[in-house]
């Protein structure tokens, strides 16, 4: 094949290189994709990949050509490590290092499958050979993550072979900057980082802003607890972000890009660094890209290590090397941003949508989704759901579809209670709204928000007061402390919640919480403080009774708040084994051997030891 010497100097160079790569791929007998995404790595995926790599190396007798690929997240984290094989699209789950030899024998050399590693239907027990038979994968539509989990995450060749940088060539070669801008505008793409601001409009403001140089920045700070959408994307398809940014730079007239990556994401930092270096080496970044005359380069910056650093002004302060604290400004960062110059900041997922929009057109993109929310959204589905994982679905899919069809429903088939969306400043949506379509505006109307795409599913054992408290505590710790309402107001709200879950709530607490919520929204300096009360507001809105039970009757209906429920021994289930009696630290349990035991409510301190030690589930929370 034509090996690349030096840089691509023209669009033709790129296309020739691409077709050479495709020819080479045609000679491959088997491709093994080992998911090394955020969910699979901790479960031993790296060893699995290494074993496949070695096997391929050792088997290099030219009778079979096998290419093992280390990929980004393939989605179904719950069942990781995931391995998929082509041809045939065989889908294996829970693969361990020790399974590699068998897979090699059966599916690489032979044409069989290893049944025990296939996905089996929960009810029928039927095995699925490919993802088509796995409910989790039904209804997905991958645009931002199109190549994540498919290509080798470290390989620019893989990205190019799969059509990468084609959109860039199209933009630079056949479109004027205004046309690119127009395309993004018409696509209806809205920012995936939280606010849902119309991307095309932001780009236009950046293009029209006065001041040189202009900056293009990708926000990869992802600080929401439990979220890993952006991480998966940066690790699994770094070039999609890079390509989007180059196109953005061309559209607004900027040659300087920065990617701000959360400090706790070392793999993402490494992948992006390598990807940028490779793209530069091949002439896709740097001077005179593809001979177009347009120049653009990207630097990678490691985040300041705080949640608030993801906020636009704090991010730019941090990029400048100052403390990552929001600045009070009424002039937008597209006019006065990084180094006081016009700066276009978009979330990494927003950027990753851009190549597809330019490549396939605004109309195609606008045809997906709902009236005002176009395209798809990546969610990280976690909590009490059977299939946790990374999901990319068209806007407008219902919560029920996401949670029950893709997520497989609630663990242990318990009743669903609520889903928390939008990250720490999002809200909790109850069962009554499961059939609502998920889009920016609808989630906001429901008192929650899209945020960056976190989705935490909760069952009946979750106390909603406690959940609100959990998020508020997170925000209290992450507030930068600069402005009075956020620093003092969140602490006040948290104090009230602490009292409520401690059984010391008083009438008027809900009103005080609501008053503080309004105060925060009206007076806080940045969006962290302005929206900090959301978790409280949305739970008060939908679960007021639960708050009242805590406050008025000192009872926690979900039986989660210690002290607000009691332990009782179910005489029918108790075998009289005596373990609880022996373990109880305050000797509150009495009973004869082989006879039902009894808890003395006056002595009991609600420590829960008996509940934990009983092997017959005879200790109940009441």
């Amino acid at each position: 094949m034509k090996t690349l010497v030096g840089k691509f100097e023209s669009f033709t160079d790129l296309e020739q290189y691409r077709s050479a790569l495709k020819d080479r791929a045609a000679g491959v007998d088997c491709v093994i994709r080992v998911c090394c995404g955020p969910g699979c790595i901790p479960k031993g995926a790296s060893k699995v990949y290494e074993a496949f790599r070695q096997a391929a190396e050792e088997a290099d007798d030219k009778t079979v050509s096998v290419v093992p690929k280390l990929t980004g997240c393939q989605g179904l984290c719950e069942c990781g490590p995931i391995v998929t094989l082509d041809p045939g699209g065989i889908f294996y789950q829970h693969v361990q290092e020790g399974d590699v030899a068998e897979i090699w024998r059966e599916s690489v050399l032979g044409s069989g499958v290893v049944d025990r590693l296939l996905h089996h239907d929960e009810k029928t027990g039927q095995a699925a050979r490919t993802t088509e038979g796995v409910p989790f994968y039904q209804g997905h539509q991958r645009i931002a993550l199109a190549l994540c989990g498919v290509i080798d995450a470290r390989s620019i060749d893989d990205y190019i072979a799969a059509g990468g940088y084609q959109a860039l060539a199209k933009a630079l070669g056949s479109m004027k900057p205004e046309e690119v801008l127009d395309e993004v505008y018409r696509s209806g793409l809205r920012g995936r980082g939280g606010g849902g601001f119309l991307t095309g409009r932001k780009w236009r403001s950046a293009r029209e802003a006065h001041g040189e140089p202009k900056f293009v920045i990708a926000n990869g700070d992802e600080g929401d607890p439990g979220a890993f959408m952006d991480r998966a994307l940066m690790e699994g398809a770094p070039h999609a972000v890079i390509e989007g940014m180059i196109i953005g730079g061309y559209a607004i007239g900027s040659s300087n890009g920065y990617i701000y990556v959360r400090d706790e994401y070392p793999i993402a930092v490494q992948r992006l660094r390598d990807a940028v270096a490779k793209a530069r080496e091949m002439g896709l970044l740097g001077e005179n890209i593809l001979g177009s005359g347009f120049s653009f380069d990207i630097r990678i910056s490691r985040g300041g290590g705080a949640f608030v650093c993801g906020e636009s002004t704090a991010l730019m302060a941090s990029l400048e090397g100052r403390v990552g604290e929001p600045r009070a400004k009424y002039v937008h960062t597209v006019e006065f941003g990084f180094r006081n110059k016009p700066s276009l900041l978009n979330n990494v997922e927003t950027w990753a949508n851009v190549p597809a929009i330019i490549g396939r057109g605004a109309d195609w993109f606008a045809g997906i989704g709902t009236a005002k929310s176009k395209g798809t959204k990546v969610f990280s589905l976690v909590g009490k759901v059977k299939n946790t994982g990374l999901v990319e679905v068209p806007m407008g899919m219902t919560l029920r579809q996401i949670i029950y069809q893709i997520g497989g429903g609630i663990r242990g088939d318990r009743p669903f209670k609520a889903v928390q969306t939008g990250g720490p400043s999002g809200g909790c949506i109850p069962a009554a709204y499961l059939d609502e379509a998920v889009d920016f505006d609808r989630l906001t109307e429901l008192g929650s928000m899209m945020g960056s795409g976190g989705m935490i599913v909760m069952d009946e054992d979750t106390c909603m007061v406690n959940i609100a408290r959990y998020f508020l505590r997170f925000l209290k710790e992450e507030s930068c402390g600069k402005c009075t309402p956020c620093r003092e107001g969140i602490a006040q709200m948290l104090h009230i919640l602490d009292e409520i879950v401690g059984g010391r709530g008083t009438s008027g607490d809900l009103e005080r919480l609501q008053e503080l919520a309004v105060l925060l929204e009206d007076t806080a300096l940045c969006a962290l403080g302005k929206t900090a009360a959301n978790p409280v507001l949305s739970t008060v809105r939908y679960f007021r009774d639960e708050y009242q039970e805590h406050i008025e009757n000192h009872r926690c209906p979900a039986k989660e708040c210690r002290g607000l429920f009691r332990y009782q021994i179910d005489a029918a289930a108790c075998t009289g084994c005596g373990v609880c009696r022996k373990k109880c630290p305050v000797e509150a349990i009495t009973g004869k051997k082989k006879e039902p035991h009894l808890i003395d409510a006056d002595k009991c301190t609600n420590c829960g030891t008996c509940f934990d030690v009983c092997r017959f589930a005879a200790v109940k929370k009441v």
């Binding site: 009424y330 710790e477 620093r487 003092e488 009206d522 300096l525």
Partner: protein, 266 residues
């Protein structure tokens, strides 16, 4: 020239003036804590909240840093703005209930007490307005103190909690502190910046012995002050009274007629 209409009164303004500047110039009082005319607006205390008309909706903004770019209609005394300012004040009072300065400002705002418990700890009533840090950095060009810690842990401190090497005992931080947390105390010939623990000798008037400034300030001025200042410093250092006395004496000796017009203070 844009017009700023505040509670139905129209005032002419310059482009990029802030709402607070326009209000102050025209005698409209908007409470502030973290604002100082000599420093960049910081907008952290959130006490200067006012409403502005955004055509169909009213936005809450901080007057201290909202730049006037075109005509703008402002409500200072609206129910929402008053509630917001009082709310912020109640939170501050809960933090530093002992501060007489804060209580005085609060009562001017119509807040006589706070219903919030004290849930955050304020060292010496510090309300974290940041004026001290900014005065030191922006005006003196020294970063002897800084804001450290996040959220409720935030506090003003010298590096490593030790008396700062950089501090010249100029006392600017103490001068701008609105609640008296920072004080420059004089113990005989020694000055101390409380609570940072920085100490240094005082410089006295060569004639009468009155305390002039800290030695360190004199040194710093000699080091980085403009040439004119250095010239003055090179001479004998006198307090204002002694300087006047000396000047009058010189004039009389030169046969001048009567006292000269009062020299301005230094």
């Amino acid at each position: 020239m844009p017009t700023v209409t505040i509670d139905n009164q129209a005032f002419a303004a310059e482009v990029d003036e802030t709402i607070l500047q326009v209000a102050a110039r025209n005698g409209v009082w908007i409470p502030t804590l973290c604002y100082h005319a000599a420093l960049e607006p910081y907008a952290s205390c959130r006490l200067c909240m006012v409403e502005i008309d955004r055509g169909g909706w009213w936005q809450m903004v901080t007057a201290c840093n909202y730049p006037v770019r075109r005509d703008v209609t402002v409500r200072v005394e609206s129910e929402r703005a008053i509630r917001a300012r009082r709310g912020v004040m109640r939170l501050l009072l809960a933090r530093a209930p002992e501060s007489p300065e804060l209580r005085a400002l609060a009562s001017r705002l119509g807040v006589t007490q706070t219903d919030f418990p004290t849930v955050t700890e304020a060292e010496g009533n510090c309300i974290l307005c940041g004026l001290c840090v900014r005065a030191c950095e922006e005006r003196i060009g020294t970063a002897a103190i800084s804001l450290t810690g996040r959220g409720v842990e935030r506090k003003v401190s010298a590096p490593f909690g030790e008396p700062s090497e950089e501090c010249i005992l100029c006392g600017s931080c103490a001068a701008v502190c609105p609640v008296g947390t920072i004080r420059l105390e004089v113990h005989g010939d020694e000055w101390e910046l409380v609570p940072f623990g920085k100490k240094g000798p005082a410089q006295r008037c060569a004639a009468c012995g009155a305390v002039l400034t800290a030695e360190l300030v004199r040194e710093a001025l000699a080091r980085r002050g403009p040439a004119a200042v250095q010239g003055i410093l090179a001479g004998e250092e006198l307090c204002a009274r002694c300087k006047r006395k000396k000047l009058v004496g010189q004039l009389l000796a030169a046969g001048g007629s009567g006292a000269p017009s009062a020299p301005s203070e230094r």
